[in-house]
């Protein structure tokens, strides 16, 4: 009943062309036709407003660095400091130990990589089948996929918790990994890409050569799907790294992921603000690094696929 609200989105997407000419290096590149749409030059007012928006976006992160590099007295003075202080590495080291961030980082890396890998693999498989293979119930299957997007996974935490306890996975990483091995949005994303980017003739040619479906998937689909797979991987990684509710419930401080470990920093009785910020900075650093390197691709992926995992 709720799936209908997604339909316009599919329609809206069909106006966004996938750039299939150079699949191996596909970035966000609007086609010429689109580039021509709505192209007033930005005036000074627009730049000022954009500058303000950028400050709004980046200042909290900058302030995290400022606070993380100060000591507690400097952070808590009035007016607050606006320039970084001298204590950055001291604080990072202390926060690393206090919040057991080393272990948390490792856990988050394992969890996010496993989830992103399996999401990409299964999403590509299912997306391929839904886009290009004919079978009974395909439309229903696609409808179900879209429908599942509307069900927030948080609602099932009580039985999930019981299930994990029974399986002996309480406080263990598999408890966090398994429920998120697939993503409906990922499936939909890959389906949209493949139905436009994968020519039917290629599959047909593969069939004529006697290739079975898995072989076609491996040799024809995967090479073409590599760019959106990379984008889906990164976006899923970000979501998995930042996921909070379920890991917070099922893990504890002896074996946390980064977001869970960060709550430890703020829950102490004596709150050292600079240490809290140092921990927050450490926990965000890997993703920020990814954004600095691949920001352009992630932006392109979100614009093309509206991915939210």
């Amino acid at each position: 009943m709720t799936t209908e609200s997604l339909q316009p989105r599919a329609g809206a997407r069909s106006g966004t062309p996938w750039d299939t000419s150079t699949p191996s290096r596909r970035r966000f590149r609007p086609s010429l036709r689109l580039r021509a749409g709505r192209q007033h030059h930005a005036g000074p007012v627009a730049y000022v407003l954009l500058g303000l928006a950028t400050v709004f976006s980046l200042f909290p992160l900058y302030f995290t660095v400022v606070a993380a590099s100060s000591d507690n007295t400097r952070v808590t003075q009035t007016p607050p400091p606006f320039l970084p202080g001298p204590n950055l590495f001291d604080n990072l080291g202390k926060a690393w130990q206090d919040a057991a961030l080393g272990k948390a980082m490792m856990n988050s890396l394992i969890v996010a990589s496993a989830i992103a890998l399996s999401t990409v693999l299964f999403a590509t498989l299912a997306g391929f089948a839904l886009a290009k293979l004919r079978f009974k119930g395909r439309n229903i299957a696609l409808m179900l996929v879209i429908g599942t997007m509307m069900v927030p996974p948080q609602l099932g935490v009580v039985p999930l918790f019981m299930m994990m306890t029974e399986l002996g996975w309480g406080q263990q990483l598999p408890a966090v990994i398994f429920p998120t091995l697939v993503s409906a949005v990922g499936v939909f994303f890959m389906r949209q890409y493949l139905s436009e980017a994968l020519p039917d003739e290629l599959i047909e040619a593969g069939r004529v050569d006697g290739a079975h479906s898995l072989r076609i998937f491996w040799s024809i689909v995967l090479p073409i799907a590599r760019p959106p797979m990379a984008v889906l991987f990164m976006i899923t990684f970000v979501h998995a790294w930042n996921d909070f509710f379920w890991p917070f419930i099922v893990l504890d401080m002896s074996n946390p992921t980064v977001p869970v470990a960060l709550t430890q920093l703020s829950a102490g009785y004596v709150r050292d603000q600079s240490l809290i910020m140092a921990g927050a900075l450490l926990g965000t650093l890997p993703l920020l690094a990814m954004f600095i390197v691949f920001g352009r691709q992630i932006v392109g992926g979100i614009m093309q696929g509206a991915v939210k995992g």
Binding site: E4, T16, L155, M162, N242, I249
Partner: protein, 338 residues
């Protein structure tokens, strides 16, 4: 009927199996039994592979998404404690009547609603404006886009920690700035509306850029001639924005409303961390910013009442259904009007 719009390729692929079934016959040159087995395998592959490919998604979803959702309802009909989860004592709808009479539930519901409105409305309006700006021909457009999306890469934990500090009553940056214009010592944690606004700011900060990029993508798909036609008709820039741009991205706007609404009903991490420790789970000393998500957690993992936690979860689910039913009615109503 729902998918009819999103499966435009159903017809385009129709001739694949036909050609594929023919293929072995055409090129087959082995002896007959072998060919028969091959044919069988091939038919199996054609018929079975699609199901095998979609199976992982559906199996995992069934096990960890659908089954827990249904089982939540079953648990909500029982008295279950965290320490003895195997002992389930039938209560019928007892948990529900109890929840209905519980002030904390209505308080959490109303908080979820007000924080939802406070965070979603400004977020989407700002995203619309930002997308409009990003849609100009710009120097450094990639920089502005990536910068706008950076908060999205920040985890709830880190974001909430920074904002908690910025909103600190005694030494926070925001109170210092407010004191410059004569507003003193806003108690962002204990004052109900201040706390809910501060939490909304965290949500707005994290998601505005993301929504702006969705709008931007949709805006770029609007054909240019619509603007030209509007310009010829003498429409001002503002009229072009309201008469061409906004209707042109209507479906994306609806989509973001749906996403933000789901997000708003599930709000948990921001208020939890904003409350710092013991106050987090209860949403402040007077539950002034306790959301339904926090109430669920409090019932289940602080009060050890899993049955009641499941009841809250199911109530959240019903709430979502209600919201979407309402949205559909509204949609039908507005489309009939226009």
């Amino acid at each position: 009927m729902v998918t009819s719009g999103s499966v435009p390729h159903a017809d385009g692929t129709q001739n694949i199996p036909a050609g594929a079934v023919k293929a072995p016959g055409v090129s087959g040159d082995g002896d007959r039994p072998r060919q028969g087995r091959r044919n069988l395998l091939h038919r199996l592959d054609i018929k079975g592979a699609p199901y095998a490919f979609i199976a992982p998604f559906f199996i995992v979803f069934a096990a960890f998404g659908f089954y827990p959702l249904l089982y939540t309802f079953w648990i909500s009909l029982h008295h279950v404690e965290l320490a003895s989860m195997n002992l389930m004592e039938w209560r019928g709808f007892g948990n529900y009547t109890e929840l209905w009479q519980d002030d904390r539930f209505w308080n959490a519901l109303s908080n979820t609603f007000t924080i939802g409105v406070l965070s979603t409305v400004p977020q989407l309006l700002m995203a619309l404006g930002l997308a409009h700006l990003l849609n100009y021909r710009l120097r450094g457009s990639t920089f502005f886009r990536v910068a706008a999306l950076t908060p999205y890469a920040t985890s709830v934990g880190a974001a909430a920690l920074v904002f908690t500090m910025l909103f600190e009553r005694d030494f926070g940056l925001i109170n210092w700035m407010l004191s410059l214009v004569g507003i003193d010592n806003v108690d962002w944690e204990n004052n109900k509306w201040a706390a809910q606004s501060a939490i909304s700011v965290i949500v707005i900060w994290r998601w505005t850029g993301y929504n702006a990029l969705l709008y931007l993508a949709a805006m770029q798909a609007i054909p240019r001639d619509r603007y030209e036609a509007a310009a010829i008709d003498g429409a001002s820039r503002w009229q072009q924005f309201t008469k061409v741009t906004v209707p042109g991205i209507r479906s994306t706007i609806l989509f973001t409303i749906v996403l933000s609404t789901i997000g708003a009903t599930q709000l948990f991490g921001e208020p939890l961390i904003f409350g710092q420790g013991p106050n987090g789970v209860t949403g402040g000393a007077d539950n002034q910013y306790q959301t339904l998500g926090l109430l669920l957690y409090e019932e289940g993992w602080k009060n050890y009442q899993m049955g009641r936690a499941a009841t809250v979860a199911w109530a959240m689910f019903l709430l979502l259904i209600l919201i979407f039913a309402l949205q559909r009615v509204l949609k039908r109503f507005t489309s009939r009007k226009s």
